[in-house]
């Protein structure tokens, strides 16, 4: 029962204040790097798995962008890569849908949920609140391994004969419920559902741990209002996940029953290939309600960690306290509440009662208020700051920029009347990619660059980081900005070939341009991947414990902290984490007692 002893040992230390921070027991390769219960190792496992998934998901987008760039072109190497999905180097329509579906699934769930909050919640929560490890390191380890299992199943669905799920990442029935309906609705869909069930278990186990750890394991003096904003954001993220993922699980279970056991939760009056199906009494809209009750909180599950990390990084690198700490916490809270009350804005054109629609419009537009508060506070934090343009800082500023640009189009889409025209067009694609996809990616990159020295005890290469940043931010705008125009002109999403449509022929060149930029941006991400892995072993070594001169507790640990984080006692916290440029001092770390001559904050 080594697991149990480790767990209880961690407990005793956290609770009784003895002096055994480091674990001196023997660790094998397996217990240290594979089935590790150290939150820092688990975080790295999430990060590396996330990077692998991001590569696959990004590659998929490059392949379907090739199709959109020139619908008639053939690429013989595609046949080598995809086999019967691209005969003669021409992408099959069925596989185009599979690529689009898997791109969405992978990026939304496997990269920006597990890869983002899995990484940083695990890494930062114990370090920043002053805990030896998570409340339950065992559950934490299981959380990763369920994610790993989900990954294996999802990966295997890419290799089955009939292909992976291809009904869109939202897997709306009846398309997703009937194997006869499309090749992607056969075994690939079952694998998708099983994989997502494993994924949900993983994020629930993780979320339970994050919430418990934040509420129960804070070090002495670390009151809730002294927590860094990263922790607040990760806390609300976990709350969102714990309350919304189970609802997706319900929806997925009912879908599995419909697919395999002949029930009719979502199916009614359907004719497939000339055959009348016996299913009666179901409602496809029901699935959309269940899906979007998760689906909408999900976008905040993705976004909030990025917000929290950017807040922290902006403050550290502006050498200024964060502007409006309590307003930041309050707006995170408001977003969390509102996230549960707006799901039907994804369903304005499903025949939703217009009166109900107007209620959802109101609630949706209300989100603009906390969002604007956050933007204002980020800008005022930057305002007249002594800014250090580290790679992490650049990505955090990029995040703010993208959040503003993408957020503004959200106000358009939140209107049910405008949505009649804009729904299911490239306008929607542009909106959510900028505000949720790329913005969160920027938050994630900011986090990786900023905490890399803490993770691996080395720095990443700065030149490569700057190239990565500039190519990515310029590329992101060049890719998604034109899509707004395409969308306003009515160009629908998910189409395989626009050249057959008189109305959309004029966008041929624009599509080509977008695809070209997408290719370049993808290449720039490879630069990041190379930089990331190269620097783990060969990067410049970190020589000072606190390279960014930051206040938070993770920089009071040794440069390469062991399991248990602090070799001696856990530091006690005496102040909030944002005492920068105060009383003539550049920064005052959280574990420094308040001096007698100090002004109040």
């Amino acid at each position: 029962m080594s697991t149990a002893t480790l767990e209880t040992a961690a407990h005793h230390e956290a609770h009784h204040g003895d002096h055994h921070g480091d674990h001196h027991h023997h660790e094998t390769f397996i217990t240290k790097y594979v089935f590790s219960q150290d939150h820092k190792t688990i975080a790295k496992q999430f990060l590396v798995t996330g990077i692998i998934w991001a590569f696959i998901g990004g590659l998929f987008s490059v392949i379907f962008r090739l199709q959109l760039a020139d619908p008639n072109a053939t690429y013989p190497w595609l046949e080598d890569l995809l086999g019967h999905w691209a005969p003669g180097g021409k992408l099959q329509p069925e596989f185009y849908y599979a690529l689009v579906t898997m791109h969405g699934t992978i990026l939304v769930f496997f990269v920006l949920t597990a890869g983002l909050s899995g990484t940083f919640a695990n890494f930062l929560i114990p370090l920043q609140i002053g805990a030896r490890d998570m409340a339950s390191p065992m559950l934490n380890m299981l959380s990763y391994w369920f994610f790993f299992l989900a990954s294996v199943i999802m990966m295997s669905s890419l290799f089955v004969q009939t292909g992976p799920a291809s009904g869109g990442w939202t897997i709306y029935p009846p398309l997703s419920a009937l194997g006869e309906a499309s090749s992607g609705s056969k075994i690939g869909m079952d694998l998708w559902l099983v994989s997502m069930a494993m994924f949900i278990v993983s994020s629930l186990l993780g979320g339970l741990n994050y919430i418990t750890t934040i509420l129960n394991m804070r070090t002495k003096g670390m009151s809730m209002t002294r927590m860094p904003l990263t922790i607040w954001a990760l806390f609300f993220t976990a709350v969102l996940g714990v309350l919304s993922f189970p609802v997706l699980l319900s929806g997925a279970i009912l879908l599995l029953f419909d697919r395999n056991l002949g029930t009719s939760f979502y199916l009614s009056d359907i004719v497939v290939a000339g055959k009348i199906l016996p299913n009666e009494g179901g409602s496809a809209i029901l699935f959309q309600h269940l899906f979007w009750f998760l689906g909408h909180p999900e976008v905040y599950i993705i976004l909030l960690p990025a917000m929290g990390m950017s807040s922290e990084i902006l403050s550290v690198n502006s050498r200024k306290p964060i502007f409006g700490y309590m307003a930041m916490v309050g707006s995170l809270f408001a977003i969390t509440i509102l996230a549960f009350l707006v799901w039907a804005h994804h369903m304005f054109v499903t025949g939703l009662n217009p009166f109900l629609g107007s209620v959802f419009v109101l609630l949706t537009l209300l989100i603009a208020v906390p969002s604007a508060i956050k933007v204002f506070n980020w800008l005022t934090t930057l305002w007249r700051g002594n800014i250090r343009f580290t790679p992490g800082m650049l990505f955090a500023i990029g995040f703010v920029s993208l959040f503003i640009s993408g957020g503004l189009t959200g106000i358009f889409l939140g209107n049910s009347a405008l949505d009649i025209h804009l729904h299911d067009t490239y306008f929607v694609i542009a909106h959510f990619h900028i505000v949720m996809g790329v913005a969160s990616f920027f938050g994630m990159y900011a986090g990786v660059y900023h905490w890399y020295p803490k993770m691996f005890g080395r720095y990443m290469n700065n030149t490569l980081s700057y190239i990565h940043f500039w190519v990515t931010i310029i590329g992101a705008y060049l890719i998604f900005w034109p899509m707004h125009y395409e969308g306003l002109a009515g160009m629908p999403r998910r189409y395989y070939d626009f050249s057959n449509w008189e109305s959309f022929k004029m966008f041929g060149d624009l599509n080509q341009f977008i695809s070209m930029i997408a290719l370049i941006v993808f290449a720039a991400q490879l630069l990041f991947v190379i930089n990331f892995f190269y620097s783990i072993w060969k990067g410049r070594k970190v020589t000072e414990a606190n390279p960014w001169k930051a206040n938070t507790l993770e920089w009071t640990t040794p440069i390469r902290p062991g399991h248990g984080n602090w070799p001696g006692d856990i530091p006690e916290v005496h102040r909030w984490p944002y005492d920068y440029s105060k009383d003539g001092k550049d920064f005052i770390a959280q574990d420094v007692p308040v001096g007698a001559d100090e002004s109040k904050h």
């Binding site: 009784h16 418990t212 714990v242 189970p246 929806g251």
Partner: protein, 188 residues
């Protein structure tokens, strides 16, 4: 300056807290299912159903088991280990009996032609009650592990935490069952 966290006496144990949050997420899952049920029921062609008689027996069984696990935890606190082990075993048997009576209820339905596919209302009945049953099975497995530990000569465990964890979970599945039963009776 540096001292570790000192846990105040009234502070909840982290594992218990985790359980409560976990219960919250299970509640959300059933909230999702029951609200889907309510939405579906308000639409056309809803077919009402009868609750199988065996479910009443399972209700009695699970209420009894809640009582026994409560007494069992109490015995543990008073260090009456023999009594604790006996009551734990009774709870385990009652838990298994609950699953059996549920199974009997379902097979009664099935034999009378109310199969999973017969209508959406029955599909919901099977799925909702079945998922609750799975949660009970999970609890029974935990009880099996607990009693193996309790009867083992090798391990001596005097921590109240695992006992309280399983008791809390068990009361939860009990209350969840009562809620689901009332829900299904009231809104058929």
């Amino acid at each position: 300056m540096a001292t570790d966290t000192v846990q105040p006496k009234n502070k909840i144990h982290p594992h218990k807290f985790t359980l409560w949050v976990g219960i919250g997420s299970i509640v959300m899952m059933f909230a999702g299912l029951t609200s889907a049920y309510v939405v579906k029921r308000s639409q056309a062609n809803w077919q009402s159903f009868e609750i199988p008689q065996a479910f009443w027996y399972s209700t009695i069984v699970i209420l009894l088991s809640s009582l026994t696990i409560h007494l069992s935890a109490k015995a543990f606190k008073e260090r009456m280990m023999a009594r604790y082990r006996k009551l734990l075993t009774i709870t385990l048997v009652l838990g298994a009996l609950f699953v059996v009576t549920q199974y009997i209820g379902f097979s009664d339905l099935w034999r009378n032609g109310f199969t999973l596919q017969s209508s959406v209302s029955y599909s919901f009945l099977y799925v909702i009650v079945g998922l609750h049953g799975l949660h009970v099975v999970g609890g029974v497995i935990a009880l099996v592990v607990m009693s193996l530990k309790a009867f083992s000569n090798k391990q001596r465990n005097y921590s109240i935490v695992p006992v309280e964890l399983i008791a809390t979970y068990w009361h939860f599945v009990d209350i969840l069952w009562i809620y689901l039963l009332l829900f299904l009776i009231a809104i058929r």
